[in-house]
């Protein structure tokens, strides 16, 4: 450093501040303005279709929402969706990562193919699954079960939520695989070799060496998927529009229905606040975890 320590620090501090200012200010506005407005609207009677009806509603919107069975059904759907997709992608991703760690012919190509679904835009993957895979008369799955002599499943009417879970899991499995595979590459080969010399079988190696090594990566996968999966929207919008009934309406979709289809800003905002609270519970854990990783 050329500058003296003391002056260097103040000058540095000022410079840091001014350089950071644009990003910090913008993000702060982006966060606080809508948040404040959401909170405010959630306490108002505000329906775009009924301009005469307005005024302070107190906790009416929350009361209305919390006593509405649709909210609880949407919360249940959200949890089921997140839970199942997480289970499938984490277990599947771990197994695939172990598999792809082995040397075999064409591994590079296989790897590229396997991670591809992650880069496909959600609206495209939803449509491909809906029309070409799961279509009851012309879909590949229908054709497959027909040729095997099994009954044809009309996926979206008989198993709507399962169908959505399959589509979302297909998109996120590659994400888990990508992260876990990267983590896997830092696994110490010597350690595995030593364990093998000591007579450890592949299962023992997996449970005592690989899995503990992947612990951190797995928790990162879970946390990041959670953020995105809580607000799954496009897949539902394109395939089932939340139906039949409320079968595939998650919290994100319910708020969308209330706000942009029913124009009920008050209730939609109350729903938004509930979504934010839920996300924050998750976020607290995530931020703490990342902070811990930063320490190391």
């Amino acid at each position: 450093m050329i500058k003296t320590r003391a002056s260097g620090r103040t000058v540095g501090g000022l410079r840091t501040l001014s350089l950071q200012a644009p990003a910090v200010t913008l993000l702060f506005l982006w966060m606080i303005v809508p948040l404040a407005m959401t909170l405010w609207f959630s306490l108002q009677r505000y329906n775009l279709l009924m301009p005469g009806m307005g005024g302070f509603a107190g906790l009416e919107n929350y009361e209305f929402l919390l006593t509405d069975p649709a909210l609880w059904s949407a919360m249940g759907t959200t949890l089921l969706l997140v839970g199942w997709v997480l289970a499938i992608t984490v277990v599947g991703g771990t197994l695939l990562a172990v598999l792809f760690q082995q040397e075999f012919m064409g591994r590079g190509i296989a790897r590229v193919l396997a991670i591809s679904p992650f880069f496909v835009m959600p609206t495209v993957s939803a449509l491909v699954w809906k029309n070409m895979m799961m279509h009851p008369s012309n879909g590949v799955l229908a054709w497959l079960s027909e040729s095997l002599g099994l009954p044809v499943i009309d996926w979206f009417s008989s198993l709507p939520l399962t169908s959505v879970i399959i589509i979302v899991a297909w998109q996120w499995l590659p994400f888990a695989l990508l992260i876990l595979l990267t983590a896997m590459q830092s696994l110490d080969d010597d350690q595995v070799e030593a364990a093998r010399m000591d007579g450890a079988g592949p299962l023992a190696i997996f449970f005592y060496i690989t899995l503990p090594h992947l612990k951190r990566a797995i928790s990162v996968v879970i946390m990041i998927e959670m953020i995105f999966l809580m607000t799954i929207f496009a897949e539902i919008f394109v395939t089932t529009s939340g139906g039949p009934g409320l079968a595939t309406t998650n919290l994100a979709y319910l708020i969308y229905i209330r706000a942009l289809l029913d124009f009920d800003v008050g209730t939609a905002s109350a729903g938004g606040v509930i979504a934010i609270i839920l996300a924050n519970i998750v976020a607290i854990f995530l931020v703490r975890m990342v902070a811990k990783n930063l320490e190391n």
Partner: protein
């Protein structure tokens, strides 16, 4: 085998794009006479081009803007850290966790009132802010990996901050900046929540265009497949090329 199974729906979509509409809805088969008529049909519709251009404008526009805002910030955090730097980084990350649905209503109303609904500018603003935390984080991790001596040597030779950034930092971290930009382009290109809710026709990007095929009258499988293939091809290739660096950005540097 497993890889092929996972890839199958994409493969099937690409294949279907080369079939005629009658072949596309017939029993699944790999034997058919390939035709380019669906591609020609999609290409021939001028509005496909419009949606594609919207996608390009919005994803590259927002990426450029995000990089412009993020580079000074990441530079300051990496090379002039203060006690608050770590806190600021974590706070930025936390804004990413604010669910879009929670703020959809106010953003929609603000955009309606200032006339940003269904405009490219509106989408660029939203995408820039949406990706800003990830862009700052990724740049920060790349900048931090740079040996400090190099910049210090430059400073000794009398380089000012601007020269230092322009002649030393940017060239040296170009690969990192490039992959950060690519990740931002990929995320914007595929984003569907905001594009579906904030645009109707004028500024709608490909995500919204493809979604319009979900109505029953829009069911032309071969054309849908051809359009979809064209919509995902560039991003798929980007993704393949940057998969390694992307892990870093997606996990905020927690997994290397």
């Amino acid at each position: 085998m497993v890889a092929l199974l996972i890839f199958f729906p994409i493969f099937w979509m690409i294949i279907t794009g080369f079939k005629t509409e009658t072949d596309a809805v017939a029993d699944p088969t790999l034997i058919f006479s390939p035709t380019l008529e669906s591609y020609a049909a999609v290409q021939g519709r001028a509005d496909y081009l419009k949606f594609a251009l919207n996608s390009v404008a919005v994803s590259f526009g927002s990426t450029l803007l995000a990089l412009l805002i993020a580079i000074p910030s990441a530079y300051a955090m990496a090379f002039l850290p203060t006690k608050r730097t770590k806190g600021t980084l974590l706070w930025m990350l936390s804004t990413k966790m604010l669910p879009s649905v929670g703020v959809l209503v106010p953003i929609y109303l603000i955009f309606r009132d200032v006339g940003l609904l269904d405009t490219r500018t509106g989408l660029i603003i939203v995408y820039t802010l949406m990706n800003l935390p990830i862009v700052v984080w990724m740049l920060y991790t790349f900048f931090k990996d740079l040996p400090k001596d190099i910049l210090e040597a430059g400073r000794m030779d009398g380089a000012g901050t601007l020269q230092e950034v322009w002649y030393l930092l940017l060239p040296l971290t170009l690969p990192g900046i490039a992959s950060t930009g690519l990740l931002s382009v990929i995320l914007s290109w595929n984003e569907a929540f905001w594009s579906l809710n904030l645009t109707t026709s004028k500024a709608a990007p490909l995500t919204a265009y493809i979604a319009s095929f979900s109505s029953p009258e829009g069911l032309f499988w071969a054309k849908l497949s051809a359009a979809s293939t064209m919509a995902i091809a560039p991003i798929l290739i980007f993704g393949w090329l940057t998969q390694k660096q992307m892990v870093r950005g997606l996990t905020f540097g927690a997994v290397k």
